[in-house]
Structure formats: C-alpha cells, structure tokens
C-alpha cells in the first residue's frame, strides 16, 4: 500500500496506534475501560486517561470475552474459564483441560460458558456449575436483558432456556443448518443467529414465526442493534445491511437500509454508536467508516485500510474513545469527538 498518498483521518491523527502482534479476537466494556482479548492469550485494558495495562491470561488464543460484575470473563484454547479484574488479578473459574472454552456470557453475578456441547452456569449460591446439555457443539450463547433467559445456538437451531422456579426449562427454535452467534433483540422479542450459509435467521419468540435474512456475498460474522426502531445491523456485504425490526412483522417482506457504502470489500465487524442513530462498519481490508442510519447517509472515515480484516470495534463506556482492532493485532485507540 502506498501510504504517502493516504490522507489520515482525524481519528488516526489524534489517536494512538499500538502494534501488539497478536490478532484481536474480542473486546468488551468494563468500568471505564475497554478490555481486549488477543490471539496470544493476553488481555489489554485501554483507558481514556492511562496507558494500557497488559495481563497474561491464557496460553493460546482467547475465544470469547464478556464483562461481569467484578471483572471480564474469558474462555480460551487452553481450556480455562477465567475472571480478570481491571487491576490485573486473574481467577480461574474452571479448567476444562484439552477442551476449548468457546463462548462466555454474564449477567450480574451469574457467569456462564460453553465447552463442547454443554453450557455451564455459575450463580451466586453454589460453586458447582449447573450444566445444560445440547445435541451438538455450541455456536453461541446470549443472555436476555433481565437475566431470565439464555439462548444457545447449535446445529439445527436455538434452545431457549427460561429460569422458572429455580429450574432451567428449555424450548426449541428449530431451523435446519449450523447456527453461529446468537442474540436477543433489545426488546427481548426476537432471537437472531448467524448461519454457516451466507445468511442470518430470526424467530419471533412469542409464536416461533421464523424468517431468513439472506443475499449476503460472504458469511455474516458480526451483528449489532442500533437506533430506536431498532435496526439489526449486519456485516457480510460491501455495505452495512440494516434490517428494520419495528412493527408486528419486523423485517419480513421489507427492504433493509444499506449504509457505510464506501468500502471496496465486505464488512467484517459492525458496532453501533450508543445514543446516536449511527453505525461503525469495519471491512476486510481494515477500513472503518461511521455512517448514519438513514436512506441517504453521510459516511465519515475513521480508519484507512490497514491490509488486515477489522475484527473488533468498541466504544468506551463514557463514549469518549473508539477502539479498532484487526486480525494482525493493530489497535487504534482514539478520541471520538473533536477536543
């Protein structure tokens, strides 16, 4: 790439770039920091006012990261499920040996992870995990806004677990195929999964009515929710594809909004800007754009192409900073607003 001809964005001018050498595998907000998980098993905390803090946590890549009451929880290829505080204390919650810990999630003091076909739940009361079994290896887990329901995706659909009288009861949302990430809509009415095929699937939980969102040129690796409607914002195409989830039928039979159209390559990561009708889209060549949720959006360049796929975009909890991470380990940490 000919860097001399590239005009730096305001974010690249004002921000700091870190070359960590390890792929960024995930990131999450915790207290006033953004915690980033890496392919070498380390975690780094980025603060608006301090230098980043590195914690050596796992051996092998971190596969999943989430924030809990008192630290981030991580699952790794070393089979360990860890909790790491913002002052670098590492606590092992469980060790699965040679089995990877693929997914983690938390709600207040409840922490859970998946390894193979099982979900393991630790709540306040006891130290022994509650185990929820599934028919195949788990692709993704999600907890709803109240901590009462857990969605688990695997081959053949989603199992929705509900906590009723201290027991987890399951109901099945079936759709043929291999399901990856899973999420609840912000109002808790829909379930969404990414699929092995180049599409997403969604169910209205009330009546299990389901529909596919397809037409993507590549696998959908990332989705998020944005705006008041809300829109389901998705990667996988040359633009950020935003499906309207308002009304009774959601996006059924409606066209999505296509925004952030300046990228030459497929989007690999999307993130919303909290409180605004705006979306960040990161692309396979490392470019990142900020775009408005509208029919005729204006795009703002956040990061020029780096040559490596954008694997995470996170906003600091106080909305002051943006973090962009890529698959080669470059981090851009930049103030979000003009100073």
């Amino acid at each position: 790439m000919n860097n001399e001809s590239v005009i730096k964005s305001r974010f690249e001018e004002n921000g700091k770039v870190f070359e960590t050498g390890a792929p960024v595998t995930g990131a999450v907000s915790i207290e006033n920091a953004v915690a980033v998980g890496f392919g070498d098993g380390s975690i780094r905390f980025f603060w608006p006012d301090n230098d980043p803090l590195e914690v050596r946590a796992h051996s092998g890549a971190i596969l999943s990261i989430a924030s809990s009451n008192d630290g981030v929880i991580t699952g790794g290829q070393d089979g360990r499920f860890l909790k790491i505080s913002t002052n670098a204390e590492v606590e092992e919650i469980y060790n699965f040996g040679t089995r990877w810990v693929d997914n983690v999630a938390a709600y207040e003091s409840m922490v859970l992870c998946s390894s193979g076909k099982n979900v393991y739940i630790w709540s306040d009361e006891n130290d022994k995990p509650k185990i929820l079994e599934h028919q195949s290896t788990i692709g993704g887990i999600a907890i709803d806004q109240n901590g009462r329901r857990i969605a688990v995706s695997c081959y053949g659909g989603v199992t929705l677990w509900r906590l009723e009288k201290n027991k987890w009861k399951s109901s099945k949302f079936a759709w043929k195929g291999s399901h990856g990430k899973v999420g609840f809509s912000p109002d808790g009415k829909y379930l969404v999964t990414t699929m092995q095929e180049n599409e997403l699937h969604a169910w209205r939980i009330r009546d299990k009515a389901s529909f596919a969102m397809s037409g993507y040129p590549s696998k959908v690796k990332s989705f998020t929710w944005a705006g008041d409607n809300p829109y389901l914002v998705t990667a996988g195409a040359k633009e950020a594809i935003c499906w309207p989830f308002d009304g009774k039928e959601g996006p059924k039979g409606r066209k999505p909004l296509c925004i952030a159209s300046g990228g030459q390559q497929n989007a690999t990561f999307v993130e919303s800007l909290p409180g605004e009708k705006a979306v960040f889209a990161g692309f396979r060549n490392g470019m990142v754009l900020l775009s408005e949720l509208s029919e005729h959006p204006n795009d703002v360049l956040i990061q020029n192409p780096t040559g490596s796929e954008v694997s995470n975009i996170s906003i600091s909890p106080d909305r002051s900073h943006i973090l962009v991470g890529d698959s080669k380990g470059q981090i851009l940490w930049s103030p979000l607003w003009e100073q």
Binding site: G39, A61, T98, G177, S178, Q196, N285
Partner: protein, 324 residues
C-alpha cells in the same frame, strides 16, 4: 487477497483402528524438529500423542443448506480451523486424525465449501494408513474402508512384514482398482520418508497435471454393485466446451452422490489453455492452467472414482463431448 503461502497446509490422516495412524502421527511430530504443528484428534482416538497443541474434536458432520444432498461438511473443523487461525503463533501445518470409520468426503468438502477455511488453510493431502494383513477383508465389509482408499492421495500399506509378497501384490491390486491415482508406500511401523507424506499439495490443480495415474482397463469385473471402482477415458479429438459443461454439470447433479472423486485435464477446441478440474462428489474446482507445453501430447483425460459407475453412461457421455 490471500495467497497460497499464507495458507496453512492441512494433512488428513485416515485409516482403520489399529492400522498405525498414531504411530505415523508421532513419527511426524518427533522427526520434524523445529516445526510447529496443531493436531486435531477425535475423542475416541488412541492416546499418547506427543505434541503440545492437541485439540479435541467431535466429528460433527452436517449438511449444507445448498440443495445438494451429498454436500456434507465437518462443522467442528470449520470452528477449530477458524480458532487456530486466531492464534498469534504461526503454525507450520495442521494434522487432522479421523476415527477409523470416518468417511473422508465431508473433511475434503469443508475446504471447498467454507470460504474462511479456504482463505486461511489448504487441504494438503489425504493420507490413509492401511493394515496389509486386514485391508482386504475390511474392504469387503466396510464402505468406509473403500472410501478411505478412494480418497487417499497416499496409502501407507503398513505391517508388510506380516504378509508375503503374493499377499502384498494382491492387496495393492485391490487398492489400484479403487484408486489408480493413489501413491502406495509399503512400510513397517509407518517408516515412510516424511516428504512423501507431508507437503504434497495434492489438492491443487497443478498437482493434477503432475500425477499420472496407472490407467487400468476400465471393463473389469467386480463382486458387488456397491464396490468402489474407477474408470478413465482419453480423447485425442478436442472437446467442445459447451457440450462438456452441459454433460458434466448434469452428471454431477444426478450422480454426484456416487462419484467420490473426479479429475481431468481437458483440451477444448479453439482454446489455447489446458483446463484442469478436480471434484469431490458434487463440488468441483476447475480452472484454465496456462497453455499446453510445447512437447506434450494435447489430449483430454478424465478419471472417475465411485460406485455404480457403470450406470452413468460415462463413456458415451464423454464421447458425446467431442467437437465436430
């Protein structure tokens, strides 16, 4: 964006239980000093693998929703290969050990179907370890044994110290009848030169051009309808591109389930380039591979390995593609 040098080679080890897969695996891991391997094993596998990066996998085979019934892939491989590509340390190679009764097709198809897998890794070769004592009876009893031979780029015919020369000849004939393309290496305790097992690039289209199969008479008898056999055809008359595409597309649609592997080098009328293809069931990789070398014979050669090949009118179909 990716080029072949950034793709990590993946070697698939198949073979029945007790044939010597773990022996071969440990030889690779101990003799290739300074190289970094990830080994993907199944939970029923033999113990005692001497490597610091061993990943447990369930052999999860699932169908793709692409309307193609034989298009099965290994879901766990997609997940694990994706996970390994997130590591900071560079791997020199990945070895996948399958269970004794595994069908290699879903493993091979995973590399055709999943874009992320295809971008970051490449299927180097399928290596089948066969027990010289027991292979003949296993071939009669288990479909999987035939499939493992049919898909093999290399067969290590192991434990030859336990059989006499006539038995070796017999079992080799049996292997060649199923798969004329495979390279057979006779071994004891899997003591094959490792450069004949690793780094073969057997699934690249270039490689189709380099390996000449032992062409056999295709009209041989066989004992059961379900036997895996192979047939090959040669045409000195250039083929018609349109006719070939129509015939071949239709053939894979209708009989893809019974065609395990297909390969060919094609000479089309009015085309200066050689066309090369290779397929696994209904999935196919094809491309022009540059002009014909000056001194080479310009003709079209195709090979099919599969079941019930005699029901597909392959000879007539191929003949009908000749240009007028």
């Amino acid at each position: 964006m990716e080029n072949s040098s950034s793709q990590v080679p993946v070697t698939v080890l198949t073979g029945f239980l007790g044939a010597g897969k773990t022996t071969l695996l440990n030889r690779i891991l101990t003799e290739q000093h300074g190289r970094r391997y990830a080994v993907i094993v199944n939970e029923f596998g033999e113990q005692g693998i001497d490597n610091d990066l061993v990943v447990d996998a369930d052999e999860e085979v699932f169908e793709m929703n692409n309307g193609c019934i034989c298009c099965t892939v290994r879901g766990d491989l997609i997940r694990i290969l994706g996970g390994l590509m997130k590591r900071a340390d560079q791997l020199d190679a990945i070895i996948v050990e399958t269970t004794g009764l595994a069908d290699p097709a879903p493993v091979a198809q995973t590399f055709f179907v999943d874009q992320d897998v295809a971008d970051r890794t490449k299927l180097d070769a399928i290596v089948t370890v066969a027990d010289a004592v027991h292979l003949s009876s296993q071939l009669g009893e288990h479909h999987e044994a035939e499939e493992q031979i049919a898909f093999a780029d290399v067969v290590l015919l192991n434990k030859i110290d336990l059989v006499d020369q006539s038995q070796i000849t017999g079992v080799k004939d049996r292997i060649r009848k199923i798969n004329p393309y495979t390279k057979i290496i006779e071994t004891n305790r899997c003591a094959a030169p490792l450069d004949e097992v690793l780094g073969l690039n057997a699934f690249s289209l270039d490689r189709v051009l380099e390996v000449e199969p032992d062409f056999l008479d295709s009209d041989h008898d066989h004992e059961h309808d379900d036997d895996v056999t192979s047939v090959s055809f040669v045409s000195d008359t250039p083929l018609d591109l349109e006719k070939f595409e129509k015939w071949f597309g239709n053939l894979l649609q209708t009989h893809g389930q019974n065609i395990l592997r297909s390969k060919g080098i094609l000479d089309f009328k009015n085309e200066k380039d050689r066309y090369v293809f290779q397929g696994v069931h209904m999935l196919m990789d094809a491309s022009p591979m540059g002009p014909w070398p000056e001194k080479s014979i310009r003709n079209s050669r195709v090979v099919f390995i599969g079941r019930k090949l005699e029901t597909m009118n392959l000879k007539e179909g191929f003949e009908s593609c000749k240009s007028d």
